[in-house]
Structure formats: structure tokens, C-alpha cells
């Protein structure tokens, strides 16, 4: 299967995806600096206030404390201000990276789309892909930022404490390392497993609930409703167990940091006491050294959540690398180095012994297809489901590579740029995508110099003139994924789009697939009526019978043995 990669290649592919999602250091450095300043201020605030109080206890003249008082106030202000700025700058940088990331994934998508994407025939894959791309913005924001900040602040604190008292510095370093090591081990051992199980369980439960709700009548009719409800309850219980496990792990990690902070405090106290006795250390210094670990461990407590964010980001990067191959599969056409051009105007399309298969599949979906399609022809392609009708449509618009001969206007399509072929052979897809925009925009993107009159007249031709006026004209929205239009209307809009391009060859793929059966024939009749022109060749794919009077020729496809 082409769906699996070798581990080394998978790692390399993941690294490439991750690299693309990192903002340039230049853009991210200010955020990091501010993060260090904010967390550093928090540590310094506690340190100076501790010193201040301890020193005051020795009742020196207040003048000697002026510096510390100012410091306390400055660090208090600084902590809040730096934190605010840090969040702003970091988010800004992450959003900027998102833009680069989206563009880079899209660029990677273009040469292989649509048919070269692995597993693209599974419906919601693209939605998942987009979600994964957006999840990658967590990499700078929730992984690197906290990790780097925590590391720098922790190291600076250790160095600072060491400088005052090596013993205390050592205690802090050991405390930090020990706490982090145990926390990471707990996370690795308990939470990561649960983490990885929760997402699939959640998806399973959602599927089971959706199935139960949408199939309720069927399940009742077949007496299977109780069994399915028990299944939902069981999945629910499993998910709950996994979540409890995860939360227990998260809770114990948080507790660990509290424990670590307390322990470090005690150890530091015991370790510095001899120095105090030996008068190598003043009382205020000791108080400061002992309390600093509390603040440092609070900063470092961000490490566990950064780690689980990292695991999530890595899983997303893996999925992207998996779905979007970085090499174009053999079954997807590649533009020639020196593409030829086609003459404008009517064209004849001819196939001789054409065979094709989907990427990653050994079996041909079609073999030995011959057809001849000239201006004015209307050819219907019939065949049972699985006979390769959609495969043929994708070959015609060069979404899929083929064997055999495919000539367009007498020119071998291999010498043409796929875009050039698609300028001349326009496909009305089975489920045309309608963009969440106005009717006008949904038509214009096919032919952006068309005037409103052009648009209205083409809508009239496909039988949508009245419909469009009833909705208040071209500015009416079509809704997200065409939610506001019916299956038949979507097909008409798709045809209107295709007609606007004035392409000499039109391919209609199952225009009645999403239409009530009793309306299929009249829709087919209207669509073919609108598409017919002496200069245009039309190929329509249909599983419902097409009356003879609507077409000039028939081709019956049969699945290859």
C-alpha cells in the first residue's frame, strides 16, 4: 500500500511539516524575550520581597531599603505588563506562522490534488486535514514558548542562586530536574496512553451516537435499538475511564510540582543553614534563597501541558505528512516541461483503449474505453455503480493519469498542461462545491469578467432565473457548503458555472445523484437542454435512464474483470 511510509521517511516527512509551521526566529524572539521577562519578574518579585522583609526584620534605617522597595514595585508591575505583551506578541507571531503554514501545505497539496491525496475518497478527510493544519499553530504558542521560557528562567535562577550560595543553587537544580523528570515519566507512562486513547474513543462515541440518532427508525424496525444503546453506554463508560485516568495523571503531576517546590524549599533551608552559621550568608539572603524555588517551580509547572501539546502537534504533523504525499503518485498527471497550446473554438475529443486506475490501487478502474465526441454530440455514459464512470470523468479532466490514447482537438493531452485541458473540458462534479458566498461570487469565479447580465441570462438558461430573483438577486447567499440550496439547484449552479466558461466540452457527472428520484428526469432534461449547442460536445454520466431523445449516443461501461 502506498498509504504507509517507512519509519525514517515518516520522521523526515513529519520534520518537514513541523519546520514549515515554525515562525522565523526573528518574529518569535520578542515573544520569547517578553516571556522570560515576565516569568523572571515573577521570580524576582518573590526574591526581592523576601529579602526586603527579612532585611527589615533587622531594623536598618529605611533608607537602605529604598532600592528593594522600588524593585518590588517595579517587578510587580513588570510581571503583569510583560505577561500581557508576551501573550499579544506570541499570538501575533503564531498567527503569522499560520499564514505561512497554510500556504505551504496548500502548495504541497496542489500538484497531487484532488486524486493523489491518500485516502481522499473518504469523505471528511479534507476537514480533518484543515483541522490538523490549524492545530500546528500550537507548536510555537503552546509548546516552544512555555518550554523555552521555563528553561531560560530556571537556568537564570539556578545561576543567580548559585552565585549567592552554591549549595542552594545545587539544591534548586536538583529539585528542578527531579521534579521535571518524575513529572515527565508520569505523563509518559499514564497520561500519554490515555491521551492517545481519548481522541479515537471520542470519535467512536460520536459516531455511535450519530448512528443511533440518524438510524433510530431502522434500529427500532429491526429490534436492534437496545443493543446499540448498550453499545453507546459502553463506549461512554470507556471514555470516562480513560478521562479519569488522564485527569488523575494531570492531578498528580500538578501535585508533584507542589511537592517539588516544598521539598526544594526545605532542602535549601537545610543546605544553607551551615553557611548562615559560618556567617558566609546573611539572614535576608537565606530567606531569599529559600523562597525563590517556590516561584521558579511555578514557572516550570507549564512544562507538562507543553509536553502534551507537543504530542498532539506531532500527531497532527504525522497525519498531514501521511495524507499529502511529497512526491506525486504515478496515477496523477504531471504538467509537461514545454506545454503546447490548443486552438480556441470547437474541439473533438477521442479516446482509444484508455485504461486508468486510482493512486495506490493495483486494479484498473476502467480498461479499453473507446469514445469519440464531436461538437454538437451528446453522449450518455451508463453503467452500474463501480463500473468506473467517475474514473472516466476524472481522466477526461486530467485529475487522473491514463494509459492508451486521449486526443483533444487531435493533440495528445500529455503534451498539454492539465490546466489547459481543463479550460476546454469542464466537469460538473457529482457534488459540486458551493462556496459560502453570494450567488454572484459562486458564478464569477468561473469567469470573472462576466457582467451581471451575463450571469442572469445564464441562470435563466439553467432554470434558476426565477429562483434567483425570489431570493433577492445575485447577492443572495448560498450558505455554508451550499446549505441553502437543494441538490437540484446545486447542479444547476454548477452547470451555470460551466456554461459561463464557454468551454467546448462539458462533462456532467451524475447530475441527478442528490435529487429526488421523481424529479431526476425533468432535471436531466433541463440540464441537457441548456447545455446543448452546435459548438459544444456534452458527455453525461448517469445511473438513471436517460431518454433517447435527449442524447445522440450511448456508451455502456462495465467494470474490468
Amino acid at each position: 500500500m502506498s498509504g504507509t511510509l517507512t519509519p525514517a521517511a515518516a520522521r523526515e516527512a513529519r520534520r518537514a511539516v513541523l519546520r514549515a509551521s515554525l515562525p522565523p526566529l526573528r518574529a518569535f524572539a520578542p515573544a520569547l524575550a517578553l516571556g522570560v521577562l515576565a516569568s523572571g519578574s515573577a521570580v524576582a518579585l518573590l526574591a526581592t520581597s523576601a529579602w526586603l522583609i527579612a532585611r527589615s526584620a533587622e531594623q536598618p534605617p529605611i533608607l537602605f531599603l529604598g532600592f528593594a522597595i522600588v524593585g518590588v514595585r517595579a517587578f510587580a508591575l513588570g510581571r503583569a505588563v510583560f505577561r500581557y505583551l508576551e501573550r499579544l506578541v506570541a499570538h501575533d507571531a503564531a498567527f503569522r506562522a499560520l499564514s505561512t503554514l497554510r500556504v505551504s501545505v496548500f502548495r504541497r497539496l496542489l500538484p497531487v490534488a484532488p486524486d493523489g491525496l491518500r485516502g481522499v475518497r473518504r469523505g471528511d478527510l479534507l476537514t480533518a486535514l484543515v483541522r490538523d493544519v490549524d492545530a500546528l499553530q500550537d507548536l510555537p504558542l503552546r509548546v516552544l514558548q512555555p518550554l523555552v521560557t521555563a528553561f531560560i528562567v530556571a537556568m537564570l535562577s539556578v545561576v543567580g542562586v548559585w552565585w549567592v550560595s552554591p549549595a542552594a543553587g545545587l539544591a534548586l537544580l536538583v529539585g528542578l530536574l527531579a521534579t521535571c523528570a518524575v513529572a515527565v515519566a508520569v505523563l509518559q507512562g499514564v497520561s500519554r496512553d490515555a491521551d492517545l486513547r481519548i481522541a479515537p474513543l471520542r470519535a467512536l462515541l460520536a459516531d455511535a451516537v450519530l448512528e443511533y440518532l440518524t438510524r433510530w427508525e431502522t434500529l427500532r424496525a429491526f429490534g436492534a435499538d437496545e443493543q446499540r444503546r448498550a453499545h453507546v453506554v459502553e463506549l461512554d463508560a470507556q471514555l470516562r475511564r480513560a478521562q479519569s485516568r488522564q485527569s488523575a495523571a494531570a492531578g498528580s503531576v500538578a501535585a508533584l510540582f507542589t511537592l517539588g517546590a516544598g521539598a526544594t524549599l526545605l532542602v535549601t533551608l537545610l543546605a544553607t543553614e551551615p553557611a548562615l552559621v559560618a556567617v558566609a550568608l546573611t539572614g535576608p539572603q537565606l530567606v531569599m534563597l529559600v523562597l525563590v524555588p517556590l516561584a521558579v517551580l511555578e514557572v516550570v509547572a507549564a512544562v507538562p501541558s507543553a509536553l502534551s501539546a507537543w504530542w498532539r502537534v506531532r500527531a497532527s504533523a504525522d497525519r498531514i505528512a501521511q495524507v499529502v504525499p511529497d512526491t506525486v503518485p504515478a496515477a496523477v498527471p504531471v504538467p509537461p516541461a514545454d506545454p503546447a497550446a490548443l486552438p480556441t473554438g470547437a474541439l473533438t475529443l477521442s479516446l482509444r483503449g484508455v485504461a486508468a486506475r486510482w493512486p495506490g490501487e493495483a486494479r484498473h478502474a476502467i480498461t479499453g474505453v473507446d469514445l469519440e465526441l464531436g461538437p454538437g454530440d451528446r453522449l450518455v455514459v451508463e453503467g452500474s455503480s463501480g463500473a468506473g464512470k467517475t474514473t472516466l470523468a476524472h481522466v477526461l479532466v486530467r485529475f487522473l493519469e491514463h494509459e492508451g490514447e486521449y486526443l483533444l482537438g487531435g493533440v495528445d493531452v500529455h503534451t498539454l498542461h492539465p490546466d489547459e485541458v481543463r479550460r476546454n473540458v469542464v466537469l460538473c462534479e457529482q457534488s459540486p462545491h458551493l462556496f459560502d458566498d453570494s450567488i454572484r461570487q459562486n458564478l464569477l469565479f468561473a469567469h470573472d469578467t462576466a457582467t451581471d447580465d451575463d450571469l442572469l441570462s445564464v441562470l435563466d438558461r439553467v432554470g434558476l432565473g426565477e429562483w434567483c430573483r425570489a431570493r433577492g438577486g445575485l447577492d443572495a447567499p448560498v450558505g455554508e457548503r451550499g446549505r441553502l440550496v437543494s441538490g437540484g439547484e446545486a447542479q444547476r449552479i454548477a452547470l451555470a458555472r460551466a456554461l459561463l466558461t464557454d468551454a467546448p466540452v462539458l462533462v456532467l457527472d451524475e447530475p441527478t445523484a442528490n435529487v429526488d428520484p421523481d424529479r431526476a428526469e425533468s432535471l436531466l432534461e433541463q440540464l441537457l437542454g441548456a447545455a446543448t449547442s452546435p459548438d459544444r460536445a456534452v458527455l453525461v454520466i448517469s445511473h438513471t435512464p436517460v431518454p433517447d431523445r435527449l442524447v445522440t449516443a450511448r456508451l455502456h461501461l462495465r467494470a474490468p474483470e
Binding site: 518579585l45 520581597s49 526586603l52 522583609i53 527589615s56 526584620a57 529605611i62 522597595i69 518590588v72 510587580a76 503583569a80 499579544l88 501575533d92 498567527f95 499564514s99 497554510r102 490534488a113 473518504r122 479534507l126 451516537v209 450519530l210 440518524t214 438510524r215 433510530w216 434500529l219 427500532r220 429491526f222 429490534g223 436492534a224 444503546r229 453507546v232 461512554d236 478521562q243 479519569s244 485527569s247 488523575a248 494531570a250 500538578a254 501535585a255 507542589t258 511537592l259 516544598g262 526545605l266 533551608l269 548562615l276 530567606v287 517556590l294 452500474s384 455503480s385 463501480g386 479532466v397 485529475f399 469565479f445 432554470g463 457548503r481 437540484g488 421523481d518 424529479r519 433541463q526 445511473h543
Partner: protein
């Protein structure tokens, strides 16, 4: 307990440190040091427990809500579920309830903890050092006040931006989903610039919102850290004057941040919380609109119900910021615009002396909401008959089948093989294939043998062959809700499923709704022959269809006419003139 351990920790730690500073030997400080260690451990343990319990509580509440909504759906039946609404309900039960994690799992416990912990800590502070306690009491209310002020001023901006942000966030998704359409029109290349532009716009607008949203965090942080500074300086000055002891000063210094911490965390959880409140509200609304015909479900979980309502009401009254519970409910679902249709049945059953009709109905009336879709249908049909039912879309054909099956409420009597059978007992004796395949997920064998405990592989083979399913490999595992098959394949598998049931449970009646709508002519002929074969086995076949070939093959045709309006597709629906029953072979 947790709060007390925090206080104890601060107290003993301060004692130990002050002791050391004052030159007491470590050996003599055993008590405070051990006490510090103990309080650290207790604090860590209680913290872990608190976290774990909170999330478990959230999971439990979610499970209960999920179970109750499903119970409500069961009780409300198909009247509650429209095809459009079920997706919404499912989303609500999935992602919607997950959004409640933040609310029930973190926000509420934090709120409770704040309500308990803050007064205790403040009380201790007051007792330990009056001046500090007063400082904290004065500054603490500033936090919610700040948050409300900032919340009010940002809410308007956020609302304005939200819609726009939503659509900008969708921009990339749209481009990727519509990629093949874009490629068809050669527009894919210019999308690169568009993606960059849309994302840049998204960044600009989001940052504008975030600048304001982060202000509330800024206010919290500032209030908390300035208070620490204030307390530290005032203690320092009083220490100089010798008013208080070092140990007390340290204790207060370490404890002060703990007074602010819970409230700060409430603020931090608030965003997640408001999302969860909306989801919880949705689920409760759904339960509210569930029909009163669900007394059993209502009774056994009434307690949970009251609890959840109280939780949500409790949160609303906190008035820390916007609480948005969308009034959604099921009003839209129940308001289905089904055309009013009268069934004008005019079918004469074949009078076959000495044989009991497989199905007889007397005065069958079906209502959808307030509308009558089947009006007083009577008739009787013999085993071995194929009865075609036809009529325009929305005329009530599927409702008729639903009523016969006992899934749709109706008036009138339905007799199976001569004796009246109540609705609930009918489905067990009737095999049915609905208009949509409505397949379930799982291995093909289980899908076909739905409702039987152990699928019989040989029977499955027979049924698959009968329905002409020769292009789906036997080992196929279907995705959720039968994903992974083409429309034609799904339809034939659904037919095989009905066949399996008819054979394995020996159902005398087989109802099929539009069995050939997605099939080509050859497959259609195969289905027609299959239906005849089933009828010849002594069954009554009722087939809803628009196909002429299917009608022509039937022994009788029942025309359901109505005032069906053909909305979007234009053109009147072809009238069918086959009202006279064809004479059987």
C-alpha cells in the same frame, strides 16, 4: 483540607525559616520542619484529588446528560427527530458536551474552591496581621470589578467580530474542500494569495479582539502582583519599626498570593466556561422540549436534572461576565412543513376465498403534527401479492409504511394475518427497507443481519446474492453510519438486510420504500424479480415506487395523492394513471 494544608505549609515554612535566621540550630527546629514536610505532602495529595474528582465529576455529568437525551429521543421517537435535527443533536451530544468539560470540570470546582478557600485565607490573614488582611479585602473585590468592566466593554466588540472571525477561520477550509471545483475552473493557483490574505485578515481581526480579551488577564495579574508588592512593602516598613515578628511577616508574604490564586484561576477558566454553559443549556432545552410522553425517563433521572439546572443557574448568578445560553430547543424541528395529504385508496384486494389476508387495515389515519397525511385508509391484501404504492413526493407514502410498521403514531386497526396487532409488536413481524439505506457501521455480515444476535453467514450470502450485491467484498467493514459504499451499493445492501430479516424471522410482510431509486435498469429488473420471488414464498410485498417498471410488475397499485407542491425542481410531478389493479398472473 487543601486550603488548610496551604495555610499550614506557609505557617510552618515561615517558622522554620525565621528560626534558622534567628540562629536556632536546625536540630531544635525539628517540629516546624517536619510539620512543613507533612503539610507539603498533604497539600500535594489534596491537590491531586481535587483535580481528579473535578474531571470525573464532569465526565459523570456528561454521561448522564447524554443518556438522558438519548432516552428522550427514544421516548419522543421520530416526531422529535427530523433528518436535519439529528445531526445537530449528535453534534451537541459529542463536541457540545465536551465543551462542558471546561465548565463542569474546571470552572465550577474552581468557583466552589474560591468560595471556600478565599474567605478562609482572608480570615487567617486578618487574624495574623490586620493591616495585610484589610489590604487584601480591599483589593480582592477589585478583580471581579475589573473583570466585569472589561468584560462589558469587550463583549460588544467580540460579538461584532465573532461572526466575521468564524467565516474567516472557515476560509481555508472552504478552499481545501472546494479544491477540485477550483481546479475544474483553473482557479487553484490564485488561491495561494487568497489564503495568505484571508489568514492575514484573520490575524489582524483576532489580534484586535485579543488585545481587549487579554486585558482582563492583565488586570488580574496586575491586581494580584501589586497587592503582593503593597503587602511586602508595608510589612517591611512595620518590621523596621519592630511592630511584627519576621516569622509572621514571612507567613503573610507567602500566603498573600494564595488568596488571589483561586480567583485568578476562575478568571482563566471563564472563557472555556461560557462555551460549556451554552452547550449545557442546549442539552437541557432539548430535554425540555422532549414530549411529555416520556414520563419514565423523566422520573428516574429527575434528580440529575434538577442538579444540572442548579449548576447552571448558580453560574449565571455569579455575573462575572456574559452568560450566553442560546434559546434553541426543538421548535424548529417540530415545525416541519409537511404538505397535508389525503390518502385516496382505491384498491380492491383480490378476493381469494379461504385465505386470510396478510395485512388488513381499518380506518388508518396518520397525522404528522397537526396535519393528516393518511386519512381513513381501509383495505386487505393477500399473501403472495406485490402491491405498489405511488404518488407525488410528500404525499405520505413513507408515513403510511411507518404507521404499518408501528413507528409512526396513527389511529385505526392494523391486522396481521387475521388478528389485530398493537404498534409496538408489529416491527418484529415485518421486514422493512426504508427510503434511505440507513446502514449501520461494522462488518458487512453484521450490517446485513442487523437485529439478529449471531449472523448466519449462509443466509447473509443468500440475501446478498438476492439483492445483487456482488461488488462489495464480503470482508468489508463499513464506517460509522454505513460510510464507504456508493449510493447504489448502499441501497442494495439495505435490500439484502430486509431480505435477511424476512427470511430469518419468516416475516409475512415486506415493506420496501423506493428500492430502485439509485439503481440502473438492469439492477432494477433484478430487484423486481427478487420481490416477486419473495411474494411467491407466501408474503405480501408493499413497494413504494416512482419507477414505471416496478409499477408495471406489481399486482396492484395504490395511488396516494395529495396536495404535494413541487417546490424547487419546477414542473408538475408526472401523474400516474395506473389506478386499476392489474390482474395477477
Amino acid at each position: 483540607m487543601h486550603t488548610l494544608s496551604i495555610i499550614a505549609f506557609c505557617w510552618f515554612a515561615a517558622q522554620s525559616i525565621a528560626g534558622v535566621v534567628d540562629g536556632v540550630a536546625v536540630a531544635q527546629l525539628g517540629m516546624p520542619i517536619i510539620a512543613t514536610a507533612v503539610s507539603i505532602v498533604v497539600r500535594a495529595l489534596t491537590q491531586a484529588l481535587l483535580d481528579a474528582l473535578a474531571v470525573q465529576g464532569a465526565a459523570r455529568v456528561k454521561s448522564q446528560l447524554r443518556a438522558r437525551v438519548i432516552a428522550a429521543v427514544d421516548a419522543g421517537g421520530s416526531a422529535l427527530l427530523g433528518s436535519t435535527s439529528s445531526a445537530r443533536v449528535a453534534t451537541l451530544l459529542g463536541q457540545g458536551l465536551d465543551a462542558m468539560d471546561g465548565y463542569i470540570g474546571r470552572y465550577l470546582p474552581q468557583l466552589i474552591l474560591t468560595a471556600v478557600a478565599t474567605p478562609i485565607v482572608v480570615g487567617v490573614l486578618l487574624f495574623a496581621d490586620l493591616a495585610t488582611g484589610i489590604t487584601v479585602i480591599l483589593t480582592l473585590p477589585l478583580i471581579p470589578v475589573f473583570m466585569v468592566l472589561i468584560g462589558l466593554s469587550t463583549r460588544a466588540v467580540q460579538r461584532q467580530q465573532w461572526q466575521l472571525l468564524g467565516s474567516l477561520a472557515q476560509g481555508f477550509l472552504e478552499v481545501v474542500q472546494g479544491l477540485s471545483t477550483l481546479m475544474v475552473f483553473g482557479r487553484q493557483h490564485r488561491q495561494i494569495d487568497r489564503i495568505a490574505a484571508v489568514t492575514e485578515e484573520y490575524r489582524r481581526r483576532t489580534m484586535r479582539v485579543l488585545r481587549l480579551s487579554f486585558l482582563s488577564g492583565f488586570a488580574l495579574e496586575l491586581a494580584a502582583s501589586l497587592s503582593v508588592a503593597l503587602v511586602a512593602v508595608s510589612i517591611g516598613i512595620r518590621l523596621i519599626d519592630g511592630e511584627i515578628a519576621l516569622a509572621l511577616g514571612l507567613f503573610v508574604l507567602v500566603l498573600v498570593p494564595e488568596a488571589y490564586l483561586p480567583l485568578r484561576q476562575v478568571g482563566a477558566q471563564f472563557h472555556a466556561a461560557s462555551e460549556g454553559i451554552a452547550a449545557g443549556q442546549d442539552a437541557l432545552d432539548l430535554l425540555d422540549t422532549a414530549p411529555a410522553s416520556a414520563p419514565a425517563a423523566e422520573a428516574d433521572s429527575g434528580a440529575t436534572r434538577a442538579e444540572s439546572v442548579a449548576l447552571i443557574a448558580g453560574a449565571s448568578s455569579q455575573s462575572i461576565g456574559p452568560v450566553s445560553g442560546q434559546p434553541t430547543g426543538l421548535a424548529a424541528i417540530q415545525d416541519r412543513s409537511r404538505p397535508v395529504v389525503h390518502a385516496s385508496a382505491s384498491t380492491a384486494p383480490r378476493p381469494t376465498v379461504g385465505v386470510i389476508p396478510a395485512l388488513a387495515v381499518h380506518d388508518l389515519t396518520v397525522r404528522r403534527g397537526d396535519r393528516i397525511v393518511v386519512d381513513g385508509l381501509s383495505g386487505a391484501w393477500m399473501p403472495g401479492t406485490v402491491l405498489a404504492v405511488t404518488g407525488p413526493s410528500g404525499a405520505g407514502k413513507s408515513s403510511l409504511l411507518g404507521a404499518l410498521l408501528g413507528l409512526v403514531e396513527h389511529d385505526g386497526v392494523v391486522e396481521l394475518s387475521g388478528s389485530p396487532v398493537p404498534p409496538a409488536a408489529r416491527a418484529a413481524r415485518i421486514a422493512w427497507a426504508g427510503q434511505r439505506p440507513e446502514l449501520t457501521g461494522g462488518p458487512l455480515d453484521e450490517v446485513v443481519a442487523l437485529g439478529s444476535v449471531a449472523p448466519d453467514p449462509e443466509r447473509v450470502t443468500t440475501s446478498l446474492r438476492w439483492a445483487g450485491v456482488d461488488d462489495v467484498p464480503r470482508g468489508t467493514v463499513l464506517g460509522a453510519a454505513g460510510d464507504g459504499l456508493s449510493g447504489g451499493q448502499a441501497q442494495r445492501v439495505a435490500l439484502a438486510r430486509a431480505h435477511y430479516r424476512a427470511i430469518s424471522r419468516d416475516c409475512r410482510i415486506v415493506l420496501v420504500d423506493e428500492p430502485t431509486s439509485a439503481l440502473d435498469a438492469a439492477s432494477e429488473q433484478r430487484v423486481i424479480a427478487g420481490l416477486r420471488e419473495l411474494a411467491d414464498g407466501g408474503r405480501l410485498i408493499i413497494v413504494v415506487t416512482h419507477r414505471r417498471a416496478v409499477m408495471a410488475s406489481a399486482d396492484a397499485v395504490l395511488v396516494v395523492s395529495g396536495t404535494a407542491s413541487s417546490l424547487a425542481e419546477g414542473g408538475p410531478v408526472a401523474a400516474v394513471a395506473l389506478t386499476t389493479p392489474k390482474v395477477a398472473r
